[in-house]
Point group: C2
Chain length 307, copies 2
């Protein structure tokens, strides 16, 4: 990885099996699966794929199984010129995989296989990869690996963006503070912000004091809010019929980072991000409907200028 990159995404690359069944089976019985779709996902990979499609020079570090090599998924990354040479490849475990089942009553259950994800714990972040990127995004993956990455990134003057997401309960107060201390932008949805406030025992407008210059709270269709320089900017979400909300958050983060790296102001970052995620939710899967820069800008202008 000699060339300079815009963005390094650190976090899971995963496979998502999305299934429907009439009902969930009782112990010692079997049930037919009515529909099954297999999607590429994982918070790290989602950010990398969206960012790369928009035009960022991107690299990724995830922990994957050997079958990932030369898979359709890796090929998709390479088509978008994503550098995968720092992937942690497990000989022992498969790529993290999620199995989600929805029954006729719309109840859901999820089985999560972390598999190769365990290898993060034994690995050290490659300094060279971090040094060759303008921004480092820390997604769900491994708190310790993220913490170590944040230290190296900060020391090297990088933009550090942090999205603990569903891993938030794996961060104790100390580990969370350590990453925040090194981070430029903290991303969290409204539930996660509440939890962070609880862990740090303060309100959102005080979280800045723990390190991040910018805090971005995303609230789904209720829009998003940027807290920075003791100010607060709220931006509506772009309404488009959502077929599948998964991936909305990751794509928002990629969009925000795209504009932030390009030096745009916070309002512009948030509007652009909202436009990006409006494309992702239009199709099932987090990487099915990756928009190009031009499409994002057009929809963004159309929505916010005509309001």
């Amino acid at each position: 990885m000699s060339e300079m990159k815009d963005l390094l995404a650190i976090g899971h690359t995963a496979i998502d099996y999305i299934m429907t069944v009439e009902k969930f089976p009782k112990p010692n019985s079997s049930i037919p699966i009515e529909t099954m779709n297999v999607f590429h996902g994982g918070a790290g990979a989602n950010v990398a794929m969206v960012g790369a499609k928009l035009g960022l020079e991107t690299s990724i570090i995830s922990a994957v199984g050997e079958k990932f090599l030369n898979s359709e998924y890796e090929k998709n990354m390479h088509e978008l010129n994503i550098n995968t040479e720092n992937m942690i490849v497990s000989e022992k475990y498969d790529t993290p995989t999620a199995f989600g089942m929805t029954n006729d009553e719309k109840d859901q259950i999820f089985y999560f296989y972390w598999g190769a994800g365990k290898e993060f714990a034994k690995s050290n972040p490659p300094e060279k990869a971090i040094k060759s990127s303008q921004a480092v995004h820390l997604a769900t993956g491994n708190p310790t690996f993220n913490q170590k990455s944040s230290v190296i990134a900060k020391k090297n003057g990088k933009i550090v963006s942090f999205d603990p997401g569903q891993d938030l309960n794996m961060y104790n107060e100390q580990k969370l503070k350590k990453v925040l201390e090194n981070c430029t932008i903290l991303f969290a949805n409204h539930y996660e912000i509440e939890r962070i406030e609880k862990i740090l025992n303060c309100d959102i407008d005080k979280v800045e004091e723990f390190g991040p210059e910018i805090i971005v709270k995303t609230s789904g269709k209720d829009g998003s809010t940027v807290y920075a320089n003791k100010e607060k900017i709220t931006v509506d979400s772009i309404y488009h019929p959502a077929i599948d909300p998964t991936g909305a958050g990751d794509s928002y983060r990629a969009g925000f980072l795209y504009q932030y790296i390009k030096g745009k102001d916070f309002e512009d970052c948030a509007k652009f991000a909202s436009s990006v995620s409006s494309f992702i939710v239009e199709k099932q899967g987090c990487q099915t409907n990756l928009p190009k820069y031009k499409q994002v800008i057009e929809r963004m202008k159309e929505f916010y200028e005509n309001k």
Copy 2:
């Protein structure tokens, strides 16, 4: 498929996900998967793979998804020189997949995705493939496709072996009789034999009258029995510590057919078959521990001659 084959296997090629979890999730919750292994399976493919490894010139017809093409699974088949050119390839559905979960209490649940398997119903068996094989094995897959295949095979003087297996409840009396009418060897385990007796309203020694010259009942570690020419031969199973009994039945069938095609007597067929399956159960997965002819013969001699 111009060259002459020994065996054509018709039935599922499938992927088996075998997982362990602490407990099964309640609706609207998630649970981590503790271990996950992915195996190649499907009753048609198991018979083809075992037969081909023993040395039979083999071809297969299954209904698979597009991702099967050039997959590791297809490559494994090609390494054993299995002809896959008559595979039914679905543009719409994935290869049949089974998801089996076992909890800490050793309860199991299974989710079955039939997927591409549905395409059997819309397809006609390729006459040319059937004509170019000495024997045709009909495994779980689709009763109508199997019935049609049995008619063509019988008309062309082929050995027709039939293993309805778990699909037995999809055969009504008429369909079952139609396949039996065209079949040379009926394979079934002890549970399935009971069911067949019920459907046909007769004892096992009368099933011959419906068509099959040979009826083979497999009873796991209790051995197997061959009913033919109004006689009954019982053969002990070879005891070897079983790590995973799945695939035992399919490999027994492949072994039996191997010797039958070579003109061996029924006792020899059953002993050889039992030796084959003793290898398969030693490792997890139906195609993990495929034995070579020489290994099978050695173990067979060792066991039955030293008794």
